[in-house]
Symmetry: C2
Subunit: 355 residues, 2 copies
Amino acid sequence: MDERIRKHAKILVDWSTEIEEGDNVIIRAHPSAYELVLALYNEIGERKAKPITLMSSNEANRAYMLEHGEGFKTPEHLIELVKASDVFISIRGDDNLASMAEVPGSLVSSHALANQPLMDLLSDMRVSLTQFPTASQAQFAGMSLEEYQNFVWNSIIRDWQEVHDMQELLREKLADTDEVCIEGADTELYLSVKGMNPINSDGKHNLPSGEVYVAPVPEKTEGKIYFDLPVVQSGREIHGVKLEFEGGEVVDHSSDSHEELLASILDTDDGARRLGELGIGTNRDINRFTRNMLFDEKMGDTVHLALGFAVPKSVGEGLQGNKSAIHVDIIKDMKKGKMTFDGETIMENGSYFWE
Amino acid sequence: MDERIRKHAKILVDWSTEIEEGDNVIIRAHPSAYELVLALYNEIGERKAKPITLMSSNEANRAYMLEHGEGFKTPEHLIELVKASDVFISIRGDDNLASMAEVPGSLVSSHALANQPLMDLLSDMRVSLTQFPTASQAQFAGMSLEEYQNFVWNSIIRDWQEVHDMQELLREKLADTDEVCIEGADTELYLSVKGMNPINSDGKHNLPSGEVYVAPVPEKTEGKIYFDLPVVQSGREIHGVKLEFEGGEVVDHSSDSHEELLASILDTDDGARRLGELGIGTNRDINRFTRNMLFDEKMGDTVHLALGFAVPKSVGEGLQGNKSAIHVDIIKDMKKGKMTFDGETIMENGSYFWE
């Protein structure tokens, strides 16, 4: 076994989910991630906790959903399992990222709705989402498996305490900020984060992480922004997205490709035209775009905005975050750009204020 | 996908576990059996039941047990999962049957003891144990994968209602029998099954099946028996077992190989020297010994006896079956032998009374 798989497992168990003796642990994995499951059983055994593994497979989900059709019910046995558990480790990594291509979106939504009670339960647990480098994901990223393995494990096997401490400087500053300004080519955007609650995403719930994010005040975004990096939606890439905001709402938009898809995202519901997240990526081991949001949004020297719902814990007490059925992140490269907090330069041309 | 995998899944769902709309279903499988899991998701989706799959792996169990050491606790989350479920389909088929070789037997026993509450819950559910033909199991059986696939699916894809009806003739006769006699080379054995409850094993709890079995009266076995087929224990084969009984107890024994292992089995506890089962195999598609008891004991034209505990439901009401920590089946080929029920010939030289 690659030594990095053992290190990956150790970080998941010790740092991300802090597994202790007696914990009831659920692992969720596709058979392609089998080696990471084996390494986790080693680590969890050493800590005298109790693991079980749910096999996940989009190929199985496809078969199930197509045969079943509408009318999904919540799986009570899975609810009882999750209720009795302390830790949930979800490993991404399938053998075919196109397995669901044939399944109508409406069916996927109905299935997700039936499983919503499970998602609600997970919010009270120690949960971590991570990636195992499979051939299919390497292919999707446009890399050989070996190159992709290096990429994934370089971004995961880090000193997360150090990342936490560094990001804490950023989080504290953001918590004291009223107005954020992002500047660059075709970009001059003002957001208010006054009273909101920035989160230090440090390798616990997402592994890899390397991000500080916050919910903007939904009514207070003004100006325009150009995103250098594409949005990947249902396998299609929307390049060169430009958005213009007035009173928090997108009033004009364009893109170099798939303009209709961009329009349909914005038309999803009322909240789809407002921002639910401002995120600042700090993980420089994520040094390229791989069409996988678990990685992309944490790229060093980037910022991203999400159209749609705000993560509740990133909304300040007594305030309202944006509501929507969607949450679509769009990333801007800051190697040629500048971000200020109440006028103080935080990022500029690929360096952070602490550098 | 091999069409036989779909047929296998259909039998499991329709005949073995009779899955209906709304059932909470657990599948348990090693990644090597992935294709059967996919086929099951198809069938279960069609019936609008709710499947989840637990990944089983002896390689993971080995890692866990060795790191954990003694002191296993019952996994509460797994208990809650099983309590809330209706159906349990357990698929045998690993990628390495020697994965547990390094794990001390005492550790395996402690782990099994901690999981006993789970086994107790399973006895109230619709449970089926089946086999997926993996390369490792083919190797263990001494066959190519293709030959082994043919063997497994020939023995599984049958008209089980027809098997049930045929075996019912045997079960009814056995239910009315006091004394069973088995005769052959070095063999003249008398068992009492008076008042006991024979079971028609027809592809529900075991797939494949093809067996009628019953608990003998523990004190009433007399005579001697020679077993043509080997006993496989911890990877070792005990050939040519001969047992002699007085008052239900083994008073003399010998074998052509591993005599000490046979002795240690008989010395496990008081019940290890008495019989817990008489089984009659009827599945002629199981036409060779494959060192896998799920198949071997159902071979057509064989009988088997088990040293050790009796399956409770095969014991007659108000009677006592044998108690022991072990249950070791030993098989006798009846192609040259005879079995009678109260003097009536039931099997003789490879044919049954109904032929």
